[in-house]
Symmetry: C2
Subunit: 213 residues, 2 copies
Amino acid sequence: MAKKVPIAVVRRLPRYFRYISELYRQNIMKVSSKELSEKMQVTASQIRQDFNHFGGFGQQGYGYNVPTLNNEMSQILGVNENFSAIIVGIGNLGHAIANNVNFTKRGVRILGLFDSDPEKIGKPCGVHVIADVASLPEFCKKSRPDVAILTLPKNAAKDMFDRLKELGVRGFWNFSNTEIRSEDGVAVENVHIGDSLMLLTYRLREMSDDSEN
Amino acid sequence: MAKKVPIAVVRRLPRYFRYISELYRQNIMKVSSKELSEKMQVTASQIRQDFNHFGGFGQQGYGYNVPTLNNEMSQILGVNENFSAIIVGIGNLGHAIANNVNFTKRGVRILGLFDSDPEKIGKPCGVHVIADVASLPEFCKKSRPDVAILTLPKNAAKDMFDRLKELGVRGFWNFSNTEIRSEDGVAVENVHIGDSLMLLTYRLREMSDDSEN
DNA sequence: TAGATTGTTAATCGATTAACAATC
DNA sequence: TAGATTGTTAATCGATTAACAATC
């Protein structure tokens, strides 16, 4: 794991993990790069190249042992590090994320939900009770969450990011329709769900263009 | 717009659109590839190359006219085609998508929401009333939705896809934690929100590795 | 051992960046 | 006209695929 892994490889890892953990769940013991390549619709060569960035965990003449592969992948992606997280902004989206994303499967534990709306504070959401964002400084000092999930309005997101960074949060999963740039010691993942809808409409338009010509 | 646009370029389009439509909203009339490159943290060269896949809409010595650019981008992405859509599966996620995604901005109009749970059928959700999935054949014949947004459980998604494809739906925005492959005349966008969380934990793990060495 | 499949090097392909002539 | 910035070609860089020796 010495030299830097190319970004193109890194971005494929979650998809590998999905397929491998599914095989593992099904108690399948062995998979070859060829079999996996057919399932995933990528070349076997790419799979072998990709895996080898992290050291060879296959065996010549046999293939890959699924439990080993699953374990290595989990290690690489950090899904058994048991990171802690908070969700800030409990509107429709925050609520859906709190209740829909399988955090456990990805090694993340939700410590608490926060909102600034007095209507919401104190109300339950899933297994949690929504707390006041005003209590965040105290909360962070005590519980030291690793990650903050930002599901608040666009204009409030950057401010909250700055505050939480100050309070020691190191990872941000940002759904606020604005791009927060990762700086020095923090990692930021900006999610723009709408982008994928635009790719769909692009392809739909492309399809009708084709059929008309 | 003759030769095929590289996939790498296509995937950057939604991000361009976000930045350009923001400039447009701010009534800014002019932007150069250099200015845009600084805002977006990409090279000016890449911006010019990318835009030129769709024909030159800049002007030498001046830059790009923002309204023109915005209009071209909208055209390319199909956001003023006025596509119609339905949402199938109104759990937490379906509910959040119905109420959180700015469909209008992307040229998509929601015609209706559908679920199979008798508890939900007839209940309101935003401006809509949840209808029975059993009414889909009739509904599709009459209203011909272009797109189906699949926010139902993993195991039900593929079946629903097959049924809706049969009923003439051509675009699928799939949130069901399973990969549906696009076939012949349909376009599928599979969304795996969790993948982005894993990229975040990957980077967090990487960061702590670095600081420990 | 023979067959299979990895790990890895070399070849190809595509994407990004640099450079600059064209031109507004 | 002089200055600026595009459109586009050429050079570089990185990613993917092919091929095969190593080896289980």
